[in-house]
């Protein structure tokens, strides 16, 4: 099994669908963007989601989580994607939260994760230093002096970093950029002396931070995982975050496709509905196929996590490779088929297009994941 929703998951999905439709329709995301909202998402809504237990879904009960797994989380993320809700799932739960879960000591887990689950604490994972996703390509350094480390360097694309309480920072403790060995993870307080956080508003209306570290001191008990062995924490974190992001993409492509399909059925030119034109019908049929295939891959990758399958990494990369391509296809076709109106800021389809491009490029594009998949398959 694993490719169908259970009854509980269907109930959860329907609850989430209603919740987001009522409280976070696409206009809400647009309003946050237009107001250049300092937070970038709705803290109030995030707290409500915490109360509903949705943030806690992937975390074990021992740290205040619900232990329900990624198929369940996926239903919420997909509905989130359907309305483009910019809630900090990726930054706080999938990246930062998972880094603490996989690498944190008992003390760190219990200090940080209950607040994550309740929606009170925002976390970020600062890993990226260049435009392209390359998780081991880290130059930012951490040097040891007795019981603490000193971090120097800079990061970009730190999702929701502008409001994070703690920034989990990937730094190099040995080796050189590109090497898997020699990375270490540190829980850095957002207000630590020497840290500078600047906000970048992204094309999809979401927010990320550019962070510079100048002799930022971190105590040794704030390390996640082993010194030099940070990649052992990062790998499972990125796999889970990738699958979570794919779940969100699924909702956005589904909605963008459905809106485009409705437009084909409604829009008239040359005296007929444009959905009667075979050139458009075939492309719509192809989009449908890609959407269904993407859905299968995402559900399979979710269950690969939940069932602790050996081919989790393969499934995650296969899913992201496909979802990235389909995000590009459906996003692009959605604009094209909406014609001139699709180019206007007023029409919401453009918001989907931009979000889909951002999601496509986040955590590795299709080429990156096909490349990784090939490596895992032995070629």
């Amino acid at each position: 099994m694993g490719l169908t929703l259970t009854e509980d998951q269907i109930i959860l999905r329907d609850m989430a669908k209603n919740f987001f439709a009522e409280k976070s329709p696409v206009e809400r995301m647009r309003a946050l963007r237009d107001a250049r909202d300092e937070t970038g998402f709705s803290r109030e809504l995030w707290k409500e989601m915490g109360e509903l237990g949705w943030i806690a879904i992937p975390f074990p009960e021992a740290v205040g989580g619900a232990g329900m797994g990624y198929a369940a989380l996926g239903t919420v993320l997909t509905e989130c994607g359907r309305v483009l809700a910019p809630q900090p799932f990726l930054s706080t739960v999938l990246l930062g939260g998972n880094a603490v879960l996989f690498g944190g000591s008992y003390a760190l887990q219990h200090e940080l994760l209950p607040g994550v689950c309740s929606g009170d604490r925002i976390l970020s994972l600062a890993f990226q230093e260049h435009g392209r996703f390359a998780p081991y390509s880290v130059q930012t350094s951490a040097t040891r002096n007795d019981a603490s480390f000193t971090i120097n360097g800079s990061k970009q694309f730190v999702l929701d970093g502008q409001v994070a309480d703690q920034i989990v920072t990937v730094a190099r403790t040995s080796g050189s950029p590109g090497e898997r060995d020699g990375l270490s993870l540190f829980v850095v307080e957002a207000g630590a002396p020497g840290i500078a956080v600047e906000r970048t508003v992204l094309v999809d209306g979401r927010n990320a931070a550019r962070i510079t570290y100048e002799n930022v001191a971190v105590e040794a008990d704030r390390v996640l995982g082993e010194i030099d062995g940070g990649a052992d924490v990062l790998d499972p974190v990125f796999d889970r975050a990738t699958v979570g992001l794919c779940s969100e993409i699924l909702g956005s492509i589904e909605e963008a496709f459905e809106r485009t399909l409705e437009y084909l059925k409604m829009r008239e030119q040359f005296g007929v509905k444009i959905g009667t034109f075979q050139a458009l019908r075939h492309r719509a049929a192809d989009m449908f196929g890609e959407l269904e295939f993407a859905r299968s891959m995402v559900m399979d990758a979710q269950s690969a996590i939940d069932e602790e399958r050996d081919d989790l990494a393969e499934s995650a990369s296969a899913a992201k490779a496909r979802c990235s391509d389909v995000a590009d296809l459906i996003g692009g076709e959605a604009i094209q088929m909406h014609g001139g109106i699709g180019m206007t800021d007023e029409e919401e389809i453009g918001l989907f297009f931009k979000r889909l491009k951002a999601a496509e490029l986040t955590l590795g594009d299709a080429n990156y994941h096909r490349d990784r998949f090939a490596g895992l398959r032995g070629y």
Partner: protein, 387 residues
């Protein structure tokens, strides 16, 4: 049989197969199986009623319920046993069970179940391919008979067939879908001429068939006169349900996997294929295989769970066709000019099989509804786009 549990039934099937199936046949439905051994096995299978396992016993079937038939199928598949596969069993039989009269069922089904009569399918015509309903072969009533005149094409096995199930026009004045009937008649009779069609892969399994004043008995018309189109479409569903997926038919598919071929031919340096673009393309092909398999499995799981699912029959056929073609395209690129040898010096048979498979698979996006027809079906039935 209904009194035993499904697990008992599985055990029964398993031990019967163990006793009956010789080891040299446990390689799947290949063309090059040892003849004597194969015919003995198929005879045993047929005597057991398992040539047509889910047909009623009175028509020569095995009388298994759906669950038992599925168990039998999976057990046969598990040991890669050859099974009886004919147009009679996969296509005509289910159609007769649904639309035939009692008399027609008793006349035609038992010989099909016993694999005694070979059938061929008279659908396509030179002027009626994707637009099948524009077919022109005429059948004119003459007393208790019809007289059939016209031409069919792409008729698999016409040269060896005993009978044909044939779409004929019985009312030339009606609109094109409404003047068609579904008629059965013998192939071995005056006025039938079969001319093999040689294809681009060198094979000649298909034929053109010419009918000139051929006789059919009026009682062998299935369903209502001029009501053949519904039956024709239903039969195509049986065709699609047996293809377009993982079941596969009789093939000479090379045993080496695509990944092995590409690794060997392209070369691997430090665990990475030497051609980066090829590596991406191969990964994409493997991902596509995975996605197709998962999508088919998801549809089956949804059906089992009683959840409503979108119809993915046409999607599956379409993507499957593209996938098999892409596999051969990649192999051709990997072999380079070595794959171009056709005859004479230096042509290895394994290599030629690949080259032929590349040519043969061009048909996969054409038969059983072209890719374009499948996309039309998805647009209309699934997406409900206006026409």
């Amino acid at each position: 049989m209904s009194t035993i549990s499904i697990e008992e039934f599985r055990q029964e099937v398993r031990s019967w197969i163990d006793e009956t199936l010789p080891s040299d046949l446990r390689v799947g439905n290949r063309k090059d199986l040892p003849k004597k051994s194969l015919s003995k096995w198929l005879k045993a299978l047929i005597e057991r009623g398992w040539g047509a396992p889910d047909w009623p016993v009175e028509y020569g079937g095995g009388g298994l319920d759906r669950q038992q038939a599925a168990v039998l199928k999976s057990e046969l598949k598990r040991v890669r046993a050859p099974f009886v596969k004919s147009f009679g069993i996969t296509m005509l039989g289910p159609t007769l069970l649904e639309f035939g009269t009692e008399e027609q069922k008793r006349e035609f089904l038992p010989p099909i179940a016993r694999n005694e009569v070979k059938w061929c399918q008279g659908y396509s015509e030179p002027g009626a391919g994707s637009d099948l309903a524009s077919l022109q072969t005429r059948a004119v009533r003459d007393g208790d008979e019809y007289i059939v005149t016209g031409q069919k094409i792409w008729t698999t096995g016409a040269d060896v067939a005993d009978w044909i199930f044939c779409l004929v026009r019985t009312d030339p004045d009606a609109s094109k879908h409404e003047g068609i009937s579904f008629l059965l008649f013998p192939m071995k009779q005056p006025g039938v001429e079969v001319s093999p069609l040689k294809l681009i892969d060198g094979s000649a399994d298909f034929s053109q068939v010419f009918f000139d004043g051929v006789r059919a008995q009026a009682k062998h018309l299935i369903g209502p006169v001029n009501g053949g189109w519904t039956i024709a479409k239903r039969l195509l569903q049986h065709e699609r349900s047996t293809d377009g997926g993982s079941e596969g038919g009789i093939t000479n598919a090379p045993k080496e996997t695509l990944v092995d071929v590409v690794k060997r031919e392209v070369g691997v340096e430090n665990g990475v294929l030497a051609d980066a673009a090829m590596r991406q393309r191969l990964a994409e092909q493997e991902i596509e295989q995975r996605a197709l398999r998962l999508t088919m499995r998801r549809a089956a799981e949804q059906a089992r769970a009683g959840q409503t699912a979108r119809d993915i029959g046409s999607l599956g056929k379409y993507r499957w066709a593209n996938m098999v073609k892409e596999e051969q395209d990649i192999a051709m690129l990997a072999f380079g000019t070595r794959g171009l040898g056709w005859d004479g010096s230096g042509v290895e048979s394994g290599q030629l099989d690949r080259t032929k498979a590349w040519l043969t698979t061009r048909a996969d996006s054409i038969w059983g509804g072209t890719n374009e027809v499948q996309l039309n079906v998805i647009a209309k039935r699934v997406l409900q786009l206006p026409e």
